[in-house]
Amino acid sequence: MSNRESSVGTDQATRSRPTGSRVDWLFDPKLLSVAFGSLAVVVIGGLIQVSLGSYSMTITQAWQAVFNPDVLFNHRAWNAFLLGGELPEMSRESLIVWDIRLPRVFVAILVGMNLALSGAIFQAVTRNELASPFILGVSSGAGLLILLTLVVFGSLSAFLPLIASAGGTLAFLIVYAIAWKHGTSPVRLVLAGVIVGTVFGSLQTALFFFAEDIGVVQSAIAWTTGSLTGTDWEQVRLVLPWTVVAVLLGVAGSRQCNVLLLGEQTAKSLGMSIEKVRFALSGVAVLAASASIAVAGIVGFVGLIVPHMVRNLVGSDYRKLIVGCLFVGPALMVGADAGARLALAPDQIPVGIVTGLVGGPYFLYLMRTQQHMGEI
């Protein structure tokens, strides 16, 4: 087809491609390989995760248990998992894998998606590659309220997920308010985030002094470093609906992100109500970050690193970038969580420590190899 056209030359009508090619970009070979590579990591990490534990299984046994048709195609089982109904009869392996071990993998997948999505959106909104839920104060706000609850208002600890989300939202609103001066700017948003993060961080440290029980301190540390230990279907049920909402809005908003990246003036002259869009997108990012903090605590670096990795692989078109993040985020989380379990086996370390240990050096590597870092 293209041969014929090139001989025609400047003909206008033939050059434009037919409509209906609207999802062409999805089949970008780079994006596809990122997606399949990530899926492979998730599957391998997940299998390692389900085969480990006090009841040990071989990989084959674990595999059989995961793909046990009696569970996979049993709507009563899914009803039990997703809606909290009565669990049907099943073999011991299946019960252990499906009821105890797999939920942790699912939570890791959902948390990875949320954090990566949140980071990607924050980076577009602030037009700054260094932005993440961490930098913009969301994590520190959530962490402060978690500590406050555990140390001072112990009776409220049943509501920790909600409280964590409220803290994240509150901190981001404070950041936005500080940054607002006849509108916001990317640099002011990041600076305000650092200010709020520093203050909240100090308050967190101060709170540790008031903790009387070492158990409370350990629980607090698990929350503030991010951990998937002990997550089950309840956490999946908690985070899944918000993830669906955030992912749909994030994918729908990717074109807005693309236009935001052209700079404030251009976005405005293209007719974007820039403050509204920025606030709405931030809202989606806060929602995603809060949902993940609510079930896994503050897992560092995922929100910062994943968008970077994806950007290096598929470019900065946000339509591809966000889709890529939805695959790479889970891969990093599931991989790191498998590492967290294997590293000091049989003891488990919080997954946040692994993501920090992996993420830090990777970021350093990026800093060294990339000429320009900062503005997207």
């Binding site: 700079g263 007719g271 470019g315």
Partner: protein
């Protein structure tokens, strides 16, 4: 060469524009109903960080289907005035009308379908292609969940063609030279398919070839599509040669306006730009030979008026 030149999307929005033009009932001219007139009246413009306004009560008109050039020394308020006209900067006082409608009252996307702006410093991610950049020009035509239409694709094709960057279509923006980048950005504004186009120093920092190319595109737009162009230019000679009308600013005040031959005089260059220069009129418009910079007030005043 191609008959689509009259409208970048082959007439998609014509009906709408016609009805609006007649609704304003301000059309004694009958030659073109598509071109728009942009008027800023008694504009007072300043930035939140400054106390005194930069532009204090000036009136400026971009005539239908004509190129109006804003010239003046650095810091004379040209860009500020342009931002005011483009609704990038809300005026403290005064009003900007496009075809008799207050641009402030228009929906942001509706305005972006009528008025395009190419800013002085445009940034984009390095890894997007020229085609992707240009397709962002269709943003004001698409709703939140809408996808690319046939019109959008035609507009992008035509804009790329008009800006002469067909050969760059699949190149990444980050790999282009300054001049090529500017052509890509111009294509993006063209894809916006507006009747009014505001350009802030589109030729500054470009080599001569690309400067001429940009000015040729502007002339094509005026001649074939009857677009109203307001352009800030650093080079007075360039302004004199390509513009239909020139507005000279100094300290936020309009010192002179009119056709190039009338505005570009030795006296004006002394007053506005503080230079001694010779102006010869040639068949390509006035030619300016700068001689020396003037220093301080005394000397300038002695030769004034």
């Amino acid at each position: 060469m191609f008959d689509t030149i009259a409208s970048i999307t082959q007439g998609r929005n014509r009906d709408e524009d016609d009805s609006e033009a007649t609704a304003t009932a301000s059309a004694p001219e009958s030659t073109d109903s598509s071109a728009s007139r942009l008027t800023g009246t008694e504009l007072v413009l300043g930035y939140p960080t400054t106390d005194d306004p930069i532009v204090d009560g000036e009136t400026i008109t971009g005539e239908r289907g004509a190129v109006t050039a804003l010239v003046g020394p650095n810091g004379s308020g040209k860009s500020t005035l342009l931002k005011g006209l483009a609704n990038q900067l809300a005026p403290d006082d005064g009003v900007v009308l496009i075809d008799g409608q207050d641009i402030h009252s228009l929906d942001t996307k509706a305005l972006a379908r009528k008025l395009g702006l190419l800013s002085q410093e445009s940034t984009s991610p390095d890894s997007i292609t020229v085609e992707e950049l240009v397709s962002h020009g269709r943003y004001p035509y698409r709703g939140f969940f809408e996808h690319v239409t046939y019109e959008d694709e035609c507009a992008v094709d035509n804009a790329i063609d008009l800006a002469g960057c067909d050969h760059l279509r699949d190149r990444q923006v980050g790999s282009l030279s300054g001049g090529q980048k500017q052509l890509a950005w111009i294509a993006m504004v063209l894809a916006q398919d507006t009747d009014v186009l505001l350009l802030d120093e589109p030729t500054t920092f470009l080599d001569l070839h690309h400067q001429l190319e940009v000015m040729e595109i502007i002339e094509t737009l005026r001649d074939e599509r009857e677009i109203t162009v307001v352009v800030v230019l650093h080079d007075i000679e360039q302004a004199a040669r390509h513009a239909d009308s020139i507005v000279a600013l100094r300290d936020g005040e309009i010192k002179a306006r009119g056709p190039p031959e009338e505005v570009i005089t030795e006296q004006l260059l002394a007053e506005v730009f503080e230079i001694d220069a010779e102006v010869d009129s040639t068949d390509r418009g006035p030619r300016i030979t700068p001689i020396r910079a003037r220093h301080e007030g005394s000397e300038a005043e002695s030769t004034d008026s």
